[in-house]
Assembly symmetry: C2
Homo-oligomer: 598 residues x 2
């Protein structure tokens, strides 16, 4: 067998059947793993017109050739399906332990088709799988579900599952694993919900063999040494993704405020939000994904007061602090921790949730809706309202039922000009990094296959007003393409922080792949694969009617400037988008020259 | 009389005479005040060939039209003379209360000529001045001098003075005022020392009248509102110029390390250095200059241990934390506070001092000098050595006597290749912001009239690898020129943080000047003046043999790259320098087309 690839588990929930498929050598050689496998399978098997919550949609989970090895920062899995939130390509990924365990159980990918009539979960162990009754799990939150399955199947079992939001087909529902790790993007939790698939539990003891054990050992040693010596990694390790506080983001004009309508906040508020404040108020511990020397996750518990958490859980990261905090002008760290905890339990994308809350607060401020319409007070900065809205969205109560459709659809339903301040691209909410100060981020938000997204880019340092349109386009293409490659391995992008300032992706990615699989890899070949995968997703989207006119940012970004010193940030995408289309060799309608051939 | 200008005090120490001169209206109209006055006077009266420590050198102190008014952030004074450190244009400026008091005493400028045989001080009050015996003050440090003069002359008297370093003609000696405020650059403390001028004490009650009281009131109100609402100002107010810690500077690759030979440090070390750590360890209070709502100064005291301070004093700012800290790989905050305190007392430029210490540490590491040569152990990171070296430099003891000549001369004296790592431009030490990540800073270091300097630029956000040579040159000229203008008022550059992100200089500078003086001011006219002043200083320097070949950075910056992500920082100044000369209309030899006419 080529490299260390395992098998594919195919599950048909309509027929209640599981089947183990062998990976073809050509397929493995060409698509590497993770994102490559998942994308190839979905593109081959799913008609882009399929309604996302219909049994016809498929959801594919995949890990990569480095998964389960000793190589650090390779714990992640990728999940793809047609997105119920955006109706185009849907994709998420998450760290933790579940992906590694899936590999140890002998599988590189799971393809779930059809849908069950009654709630089920999938139990995968050591090369086998069965579909089990999940009646007792249905209605549980994600933490309860994990616990229940461990009680049932053994304490070392790893679980990916949905909370109530996925069950309720909330279109921003996430897939949760390992106590708060989350594949949050694209509402794929609702796809699991529509299939009545509550969870996938997995356990395995199958050794992952690598081609050149000595070289893997050597590369691992070198990686760890470089990683741990780097101040950016030390920072991440010390403060987590939440960072010290929101102060530095505020100061460099990166922080979203008041549904992106405001550009300044008080320093004091920004200082109240972050790991330092959490450490002052709560007991905070660190948690790492499998094989990671950094340990960027913070485990917290609000002990008392109106926002007390029932037990400790994964604390908010930067995106969450901003989405449930500054975006709503909320500087109550207890409220953010509580709202974040509820999102983790219900299984909700915190970026999408915060975007909805800020949106509805603005509806009330603009008197598009009244307090009576909403059933609660929602003024900016009200931490209780933030928490209450999370509950309403997770359970589709009151206005939460409208919001559960996502900000784009909710704005259309509410009408009266609300779409003007629904902050999304192609239905996907704007991440918490201001596109006005970074033209590469801006162009990525506008063009990436899943709609606005912060993960699908291995970022460089692009906060500048001096890039030419062609430089902006070239960087965007390069960073998007590298992201596709890294997601094939599947590696954490923090390993390649700031486009390679920590580890060199050009050095490590081919070397690691070769050492593990025994096959030659060149940077160029990998880049070609990344481009091909990107084009396959784009072609999928064009079949759903997505064209160049959809590659745009909300008009708010062009109307409200964000200026730092002499920099006049330009969010006019027209020139860089033209260059981008040329570089990608897409037609005027956005159709890749490959015509989706892969 | 035009505007609110006062008089010039002319002091001849050889003749022991003082004379009060009236300001000519044309002079005031054309040169505004502060930097304008001082530059015009020195250029008119001083032959560039004059040896800096000879009686022929003149030293000019000046304040501006806004000094002494209610307008915030206008407490600063400017001081110019030929520099004993660099042998070219010398200039410093400082905040506090002394400048304001000078204005209230009725003077816009003091010109000191000649030199006294015995130590003297100048006592200026309400339009009068006398030269007084300073025998008892000679040998005192700056804090003791201030105290003694207040005991003598009254508790509200303000004092600018030199410590022992200035007396000892240490060529990096600073002028100190108001308990740790310092005009540190260019070694002008040694000029005072050479004239046996220990101090200038001043006290005044003369009201500063402004042309349009109502408008000044209105503008002040508006400024204060904008200032206090801005997070950058709130940050400055909260943490001081020291900042929270050196963490963010480390992370953005701005921090100098190991005499600029290293680019990474441990995050933990960086976190140990800054106001947060000082607050944890010491009692820290805030102190503001006259009329400043920010209060960026921190007053600290190391209570005990080997680095205990005898009394509380002004704490280290960013430049000092870096110079006496990271540049020497020293992360002992107590040692930095103590070394800083000694610098303040002796009257030493901390940037220059840190540069010398790092330089001599490298001499030892490279075995160019031995422990025996130096008389102490000096390994990197040794806090005790840092403190000890400060004492040796301030008092010219041992190797301190060689170092007291400044890093450029000391390197020549030591020989054996030491000049390779003497980090200066034209004899002036490199400030603590890495020129490798900011091409505008780099070009400014190379071209500004006083040699490498961080203050003589109103900075923008230029950390980018994408500026064209012409953009780099244009920005440098613009930011240097604005600095000349702001120094005429004399305003604190924190008011115009990041090239106008806080307050707009284009809006406020002309408006404030007009409201105070009753004369019309346009942005263009001010910019022309700024350029003229810059050219006058340049012409002065060319007369001293400075030419284009001196506009360069130490080769270390081109040999050791500093790279962040995809950015490859370019410190090849050749293309931007060529553009710069064109824009400034300087000849190939650096001679301004004005030929020094002013």
């Amino acid at each position: 067998m080529y490299g260390n690839a395992g098998k594919i588990l195919r599950v048909n929930l309509t027929k209640s059947k599981v089947n183990v498929e062998t990976l073809k050598e050509g397929f493995v050689r060409e698509y590497i793993g993770g994102n490559g496998f998942a994308t190839k399978i979905l593109c081959d098997e799913l008609s882009p017109e399929t309604p996302p919550l219909s049994p016809g949609n498929k959801i594919v989970f995949a890990v990569g050739p480095l998964s389960g090895t000793r190589i650090p920062m390779c714990s992640r899995y990728v999940v793809v399906a047609k997105s119920p939130l955006t109706n185009i390509w849907g994709e998420g990924d998450a760290g933790g332990f579940w992906g590694t365990e899936l590999k140890w159980a002998g599988f590189d990918a799971i393809v779930v088709e059809g849908s069950s009539e009654k709630p089920v979960y999938l139990w995968i162990s050591n090369g086998k799988a069965e579909i089990c009754d999940a009646k007792d799990l249905w209605g549980m939150d994600s933490y309860e579900t994990e616990k229940a399955l461990r009680n049932e199947l053994g304490s070392k079992v790893k679980v990916a599952c949905i909370g109530q939001a996925g069950e309720n087909l909330v279109k921003i529902a996430s897939i949760m694993n390992d106590g708060g790790r989350t594949a949050a993007h694209s509402g794929l939790g609702a796809v699991m919900g529509s299939k009545k698939l509550k969870a996938i539990a997995t356990k395995g003891d199958i050794d992952v063999e690598v081609f050149n054990e000595e070289e893997v050992k050597e590369l691992t040693k070198q990686m760890l040494k470089e990683l741990l010596a780097h101040p950016l990694i030390q920072y991440l390790s010390r403060w987590g993704v939440a960072g010290d506080s929101l102060e530095s983001n505020l100061l460099r004009q990166n922080l979203p405020l008041k549904n992106w309508s405001q550009v300044n906040w008080s320093l004091e508020s920004a200082q109240l939000m972050g790991s330092r404040r959490m450490e002052e108020k709560f007991s905070v511990t660190r948690k790492a994904c499998y094989g990671c020397p950094i340990g960027c996750a913070k485990i917290v518990k609000v002990e008392s007061g109106p926002f007390a958490m029932q037990e400790q859980g994964r604390g908010p990261e930067y995106e969450t602090l901003a989405a449930l905090g500054s975006l709503c002008l909320n500087d109550d760290i207890d409220a953010v921790c509580k709202a974040n905890d509820l999102c983790n339990r219900y299984g909700l994308d915190t970026i999408a949730t915060g975007t909805l809350i800020a949106f509805i607060m603005e509806c009330l401020e603009k008197e598009i809706l009244s307090k009576q319409d909403i059933g609660t007070t929602l003024e900016w900065g009200n931490g209780e309202a933030v928490v209450e809205l999370v509950r309403m969205i997770g359970t589709r109560k009151g206005i939460g039922n409208t919001l559960a459709e996502g900000v784009s659809t909710a704005a259309v339903t509410i009408g009266r000009g609300a779409s003007e301040f629904a902050m999304h691209v192609k239905g996907s909410p704007i991440p918490m990094h201001d596109p006005r100060i970074d033209p590469v981020r801006a162009l990525n938000y506008a063009t990436v296959s899943v709609g606005a997204n912060h993960g699908k880019l291995v970022p460089g340092k692009n906060e500048s007003d001096d890039l030419t349109p062609s430089q902006i386009a070239l960087r965007t293409v390069s960073q998007q393409t590298w992201s596709e490659v890294v997601d094939c391995l599947v590696m954490c992008r923090f390993a390649f922080f700031f486009g390679g300032v920590v580890l060199s992706r050009e050095f490590y990615v081919p070397k690691l792949l070769s050492a593990v699989t025994g096959q030659p890899f060149t940077e160029q070949k990998l880049f070609e694969l990344g481009n091909r995968l990107f084009d396959m997703k784009q072609f999928f989207n064009t079949k759903q009617g997505v064209g160049r006119e959809h590659d745009r940012l909300p008009t708010r970004f062009t109307k409200i400037p964000r200026v730092l010193g002499e920099e006049k940030y330009n969010v006019d995408l027209t020139p860089s988008l033209a260059e981008y289309y040329k570089i990608r060799r897409w037609s005027e309608e956005g159709v890749p020259s490959s015509q989706g051939k892969n």
